[in-house]
């Protein structure tokens, strides 16, 4: 069994779920408001990008130990209020989703539903190793290797758990990303940035991750990542199922 990964196996970036046609008045947008907004948008592109960056309201949604660091980020020493970050409880009023912890199989549809409930100019920060690639639980049966399999991620913050300063840096990076998109007038996903690492696009990041065998997502590709030790092979299971060989443990 070879561990080589075919480029075709790169998990595709989940396309934006929000396929609503902006011009259809009944698509959740009042006709008048829409045309007025279109006009405003053209005239004040830079201003809105500034305002969108300076008032990022994240959703109070924490999963595990990274959520404690997110709380510390909201407390007085690191004080996210300085950046205009104000935690809101309802997804409708939030425009930033900080995924702080592993996306387990039970939490999968909760995260996707929360993301889809948030109004459109929304951003996602994958905070901590668990959100980036499953972290210390990468080979667990109930942890999904990385939130970007569920929702498009803008900023990755490595660390387990990362320090609250890294989240401040991530907010600054996000503000740069928004300003850059604002100037370019694009609404799509710009370059994904990993905090604390050199500029890297999402594709490069995934290529790096895919190229390095130990990062290979074990159960996503179906066969086990690291099989049992040789002596365990000797006591093959009663069903006699041959366990594939592997290049050592640990």
């Amino acid at each position: 069994m070879s561990l080589k990964v075919l480029p075709s196996e790169l998990p595709a970036l989940p396309e934006l779920r929000d396929a609503r046609d902006m011009d259809d008045p009944h698509a959740g947008k009042g006709f008048i408001m829409h045309s007025v907004r279109g006009f405003i948008q053209e005239m004040t592109q830079g201003l809105f990008a500034w305002s969108e960056g300076r008032s990022l309201w994240p959703l109070t949604f924490g999963i595990k130990c990274c959520a404690i660091e997110m709380m510390a980020f909201g407390a007085s020493r690191y004080d996210c209020d300085r950046m205009g970050v104000f935690f809101r409880a309802s997804p409708r009023q939030a425009d930033l989703l900080i995924v702080a912890g592993p996306a387990t199989i039970k939490l999968k549809d909760v995260i996707v539903r929360l993301y889809e409930q948030m109004p459109e100019p929304k951003h996602v920060i994958a905070f901590g190793e668990c959100a980036i690639c499953g972290g210390p639980f990468w080979d667990s049966y109930s942890v999904i290797n990385g939130v970007d399999k569920l929702i498009p991620v803008d900023i990755y913050v490595p660390g387990c758990p990362p320090r609250p300063e890294q989240l401040l840096l991530a907010i600054m990076k996000l503000q740069e990303l928004i300003d850059e998109r604002g100037k370019a007038g694009r609404r799509g996903r710009g370059k994904t940035q990993v905090v604390g690492m050199p500029e890297v696009t999402r594709e490069e990041l995934l290529a790096q991750v895919m190229a390095h065998p130990t990062f290979l997502m074990g159960h996503q590709s179906g066969e086990p990542r690291i099989a049992p030790t040789p002596d365990e092979l000797a006591r093959a299971t009663p069903t006699g199922q041959p366990a594939p060989d592997a290049e050592g443990r640990g």
Partner: protein, 148 residues
């Protein structure tokens, strides 16, 4: 009921266990209990003062199942360990929820991860994994990390 391999100690009845506890022996006091007598043994121990059920663990020894009960009496530091051996083909054991209502969650977790069915449990559903998850991941035959 298929014969339990010799590995498991001989099963004792509740009266012997009570006697065993009375003698202030050194080290953790472990008793093997037969599957049919587990509820009476637990009830007897509960009456004898073991009010706190610390842990129920299922072990997959590949040739037999084993359910380990750790019971604690507030007066003495050493826990009492009850071990119930089950034949590999038939992972069923009566539930002790009638003695300790708190045991339900231990039993649900053991069922959820290992597939040992606790008969008569007030809440036999899975606790940790989504309800529609097939298979019991902690079994040895489930190769590690594999979703099968």
């Amino acid at each position: 009921m298929s014969e339990i391999p010799a590995g498991a100690a001989a099963a004792q009845d509740p009266a012997a266990i009570l006697a065993g506890i009375a003698t202030p022996g050194k080290g953790a006091r472990a008793f093997a209990v037969d599957r049919k007598r587990i509820v009476d043994a637990c009830a007897a121990l509960h009456r004898a003062g073991f009010a706190h059920l610390c842990l129920i663990t299922g072990i997959d020894w590949r040739d037999r199942w084993e359910v380990v009960y750790h019971l604690v009496r507030l007066e003495e530091p050493e826990p009492v360990v009850l071990r119930v051996a089950l034949p590999y083909g038939e992972a069923r054991i009566p539930s002790v929820a009638s003695v300790w209502p708190g045991a339900v969650w231990h039993e649900r977790e053991t069922y959820d991860l290992l597939g040992i069915v606790f008969e008569g449990s007030p809440d036999p559903r899975r606790i940790l994994l989504p309800q529609d998850y097939e298979g019991f991941p902690l079994r040895k035959e489930v190769l590690y990390g594999n979703r099968s």
